[in-house]
């Protein structure tokens, strides 16, 4: 197994591990934006550039830690003057593009970047840095592919097809969860009982707890879940008609009464859909 010497610390990692994985193992911090441990690496934001040193610390190539595969013993410098300069430069460009993102400013602060010398020359949709995580999670994990990149170069933007509200979006909110700069938000519309994934305009009804009225998951997500575990939808609705809190209360009530109503279908009664 190859040995990675990173910032003077030595760790052994499995072949094909990334430098970032090695760094985390060695407790060395490398800033990341377009990286998420459950998703394939994109290498698009360039904020995790590190230097692979040659023999006796000679300067080597700058590589993205998030997807550079370790195949032999290497020495990596995160703090080399060159790596820091380029990473900070990338951050300055991003700050110029997305000046209002609190998340980005926080990361910049942690990196020691005070601000940007550059003017704003590219338009961003609510501070989007075009890292692409939302698109990947929607395609690879959720399987919906409801959003993608539209346009090229500075015109590039994350969008639903034709920038219209998309029916393929199930309002799961995974894109909002992985967004590193707070561009994507889940908005709840109390009047209609819907969740909107902003800025993609898609809306879905939310399931509501029949007991306390609290909003739960979106209907298409619940549908997708029941499909995936092959549970009859009506049965599933019955199971999921209460929020976890109310379900707990019901169960306690039932227990304390000794017999009580069966609010939850016993496992053996759940019908399994024929596939």
């Amino acid at each position: 197994m190859p040995v990675v010497n990173i910032e003077g610390k030595t760790v052994t990692v499995a072949r094909e591990s990334t430098i970032l994985e090695a760094a985390r193992k060695a407790h060395v911090w490398i800033p990341t934006l377009c990286y998420h441990p459950t998703l394939p690496s994109l290498g698009s934001c360039r904020i995790c550039l590190v230097e692979i040193l040659g023999q006796d610390g000679a300067p080597g190539p700058l590589v993205t830690a998030c997807n550079y595969p370790v195949r032999r013993d290497i020495t990596v410098s995160v703090s080399s003057e060159r790596a820091v300069r380029v990473r900070n430069g990338v951050m300055q460009l991003l700050l110029a593009r997305s000046p209002e993102s609190g998340e980005l400013q926080e990361l910049a602060h942690r990196m020691g970047v005070g601000g940007t010398p550059y003017p704003k020359v590219t338009e961003s949709q609510r501070n989007c840095i075009l890292c692409g995580l939302c698109i990947v999670v929607c395609e690879e994990v959720i399987g919906a592919s409801a959003i993608g990149f539209a346009g090229r170069g500075v015109e590039r933007a994350v969008a639903s097809p034709f920038r219209q509200a998309s029916e393929t979006c199930i309002a799961c909110g995974a894109c909002a969860a992985v967004c590193p700069v707070g561009t994507i938000q889940v908005r709840i519309h109390a009047d209609t009982g819907e969740a909107e994934i902003s800025p993609f305009k898609s809306r879905s009804k939310l399931l509501i707890c029949e007991e306390c009225g609290v909003r739960m998951v979106s209907v298409p997500v619940a549908q997708a879940m029941s499909d995936r575990v092959k549970i009859d939808w009506e049965e599933f609705r019955r199971l999921a008609r209460l929020c976890p809190e109310c379900r707990r209360k019901q169960a306690v009530k039932a227990l304390s009464l000794g017999a009580g109503e069966q609010s939850v279908t016993p496992l053996e009664k759940i019908k399994i859909k024929e596939s």
């Binding site: 997807n67 380029v86 990149f149």
Partner: protein, 632 residues
């Protein structure tokens, strides 16, 4: 188009021996008393109406054929780009290789009567050396051709690109036969290595190393791919286009030899959709090659199978980048990925893949045919063979040229190119496309060599060569290329997308006279950031047009910033229009045409421009019949 595709065999050629027999049959046919009229239908000549000329020659040949009772065979051929695009349409008559340029429809009858039938030369259509005034009859007598060394373009302009017979008659597919009958795959790679061939697409990576890595890479199910990159996208470049249009079989032959060498099973030609003639000729060539058995199962009885398909690209510049091209072939959007795992190991569909440029593939039959040592004898120590360039810009002889590596830029520009247009002074030559740089006059004696051009801050690139004269503003040149790259960047990675936009914004400020000296430092900082931080070669080299112009023409940038003056008088607003009172006749044309009434003056008396009102629209400069308006 009445293509003379005489695929007269109905059966596949099974062995090198059969191929030779077929070739001899074709050659025997040619021994008769044949006159050949070759009409260039390359893009430049076609734009000037050469298709019509070809039709007229065909009609004339038909009429003459029926009247002379077959004693003389007259063939009218359409051929690929001849090279001297500036003076097109080009028509060459054999025997005698008499070259006529700028041929127009009314000339056809005269050429046919005098030269084709009469064997006499039509003097007024011959090339005349602008310096000596001497007439040249054949290409060999014209410096544009005589200084060149044509290996890849050897048959361009000679053979009909839609006829496999034409290609076979001049020795086509004999290198394939040689490779399959007398060489082992590793042996072919050795030959390519000994020839010292480096990729002609831009990077200059040794072709043999690429092939060897691919051959040795683990290939699940034995699938390896081979791709021909015909996504030529540099502004002003048309080398690959001319090759695909003018001699498509040479590219196919190179690919089949390459496929045998690396063990590839499938091949792709990725060609941009803006090249319809290239696509058409390649399609025809593929069908013919299949018919002859140069593609398909058990090629030439060697037990090796390979086929090629054409994929048309949408014309995105970034698809010239290998990983973006492969993404596009896979049906995804053409964006590059990081190449920490090389494409020779995991390329198209995750299989080992070799990608070479059109010109590289066309070099392969030449190397196998002449042998690696003869090929390696051409060129410099680390750059072997020849290189095709499209010579464009402010040059007298715009065209397609092929030169031995090591030739100086001066010889290309002065001897082949005939110098700068209109007797203006040479300022710089831009090589390598948007990733390249500008080389100034003091380095004109530099050799055309991969490493030498890189050392000068430019690069070989795929072969665009743009000549600039004294009226070209270098800030404007940099701005042009950055503008091109801004619209061609895919936008995936931060440095390229944001950095190019930042640099372009600075250049725009400078060319408006709003720059500051610190801007030059900012440009250099951003340039470093791009080259160090970008994901693919487009971004890594995007700053080269700025860096090379800053290196050689820093004074020009400073003049824009300090004195708000454009020395080349190209940047609008950074120079003034002034009427020369000596030359002005007082005709009043400028006054009448000025849209803002900035010009005043009595009839027949010198006029004056009110600089406070003038919007620098250039109208007076264009309209003045006496050249009395100066840019200062």
């Amino acid at each position: 188009m009445a293509a003379a595709t005489a695929t007269s065999v109905d059966k596949i050629i099974h062995s090198p021996k059969e191929l030779e027999a077929y070739r001899n049959k074709l050659k025997a046919k040619d021994k008769k008393n044949t006159r050949i009229v070759r009409v260039c239908i390359g893009t430049g000549c076609a734009a000037k109406g050469s298709h019509r000329l070809y039709e007229l020659f065909c009609e004339a040949a038909e009429q003459a054929g029926s009247s002379n009772g077959g004693t003389v065979v007259i063939q009218s051929k359409h051929v690929g780009c001849h090279g001297l695009c500036e003076l097109g349409p080009i028509v060459v008559i054999d025997p005698g290789q008499i070259l006529y340029h700028s041929v127009e429809e009314p000339d056809v009858a005269e050429i046919f009567r005098e030269t084709v039938l009469g064997g006499r030369v039509v003097e007024h259509l011959l090339y005349e050396d602008p310096r000596t005034g001497e007439k040249a009859k054949t290409p060999g007598e014209i410096p544009f051709y005589s200084v060149q060394k044509r290996i890849v373009l050897q048959h361009n302009g000679r053979i009909d690109p839609t006829s496999i017979d034409d290609y076979i008659a001049v020795g086509g597919y004999s290198s394939l036969a040689k490779a399959l009958s007398s060489l082992e795959p590793e042996g072919i790679i050795d030959q390519v290595e000994q020839a010292g061939l480096r990729g002609r697409g831009g990077g200059g990576f040794p072709t043999a190393s690429k092939w060897r890595s691919c051959r040795r890479a683990e290939a699940p199910e034995g699938i390896r791919y081979l791709i021909c990159n015909g996504d030529e996208g540099d502004p002003g470049a048309f080398m690959d286009r001319s090759l695909m249009e003018g001699n498509p079989h040479s590219v196919l032959e190179g690919m089949v030899i390459g496929a045998f060498a690396i063990g590839a099973t499938h091949g792709y030609i990725y060609v941009r959709n803006e090249y319809p003639l290239a696509v058409e000729h390649l399609k025809m060539a593929l069908e013919q090659a299949r018919k002859f058995g140069f593609l398909g199962q058990d090629i030439l009885g060697r037990g090796f199978s390979f086929d090629i398909r054409i994929n048309r690209g949408g014309g995105a510049f970034v698809c010239g980048e290998s990983t973006a091209l492969m993404a596009s072939l896979e049906g995804r959007s053409g964006e590059p990925r990081t190449k920490y795992i090389h494409t020779v190991e995991s390329g198209l569909n995750g299989r080992p893949t070799v990608l070479n440029n059109v010109e590289t593939w066309a070099n392969i039959p030449a190397i196998i045919g002449m042998g690696s040592s003869e090929f390696a004898a051409i060129g410099t120590e680390r750059s072997k063979g020849t290189k095709v360039f499209s010579l464009v810009g402010k040059i007298t002889n715009t065209g397609l040229v092929e030169v031995p590596m090591g030739i100086t830029l001066r010889r290309i520009i002065e001897e082949i190119g005939g110098g700068v247009q209109g007797g203006k002074a040479f300022k710089a030559v831009q090589t390598g496309g948007p990733s390249g740089g500008c080389i100034p006059a003091q380095h004109l004696d530099a050799a055309v060599d991969f490493d030498e051009l890189t050392r000068l801050g430019s690069m070989m690139g795929s072969g665009g060569m743009i000549v600039m004269d004294e009226d070209t503003c270098m800030v404007n040149v940099a701005k042009y290329f950055l503008g091109f790259l801004k619209s061609e960047s895919c936008g995936k990675c931060t440095p390229c997308r944001e950095g190019i936009a930042q640099m372009l914004a600075i250049l725009e400020r400078i060319s408006k006279g709003e720059g500051e000296l610190e801007d030059l430092d900012r440009l250099e900082t951003l340039a470093e950031l791009l080259s160090e931080g970008s994901l693919c070669a487009l971004g890594k080299t995007a700053a080269n047009p700025i860096l090379s112009t800053l290196k050689y023409f820093r004074g020009e940038y400073e003049e824009h910033i300090r004195n708000k003056h454009c020395p080349a008088r190209e940047c609008k607003g950074l120079f003034l229009y002034r009427i020369d009172p000596e030359a002005c006749t007082g005709c009043g044309i400028c006054r009448k045409n000025c849209p803002v009434k900035a010009i005043s003056g009595e009839r027949k008396a010198p006029h004056v421009i009110d600089q406070a009102v003038c919007t620098k629209c250039n109208t007076c400069f264009e309209k003045c019949p006496f050249g009395a308006i100066n840019k200062v």
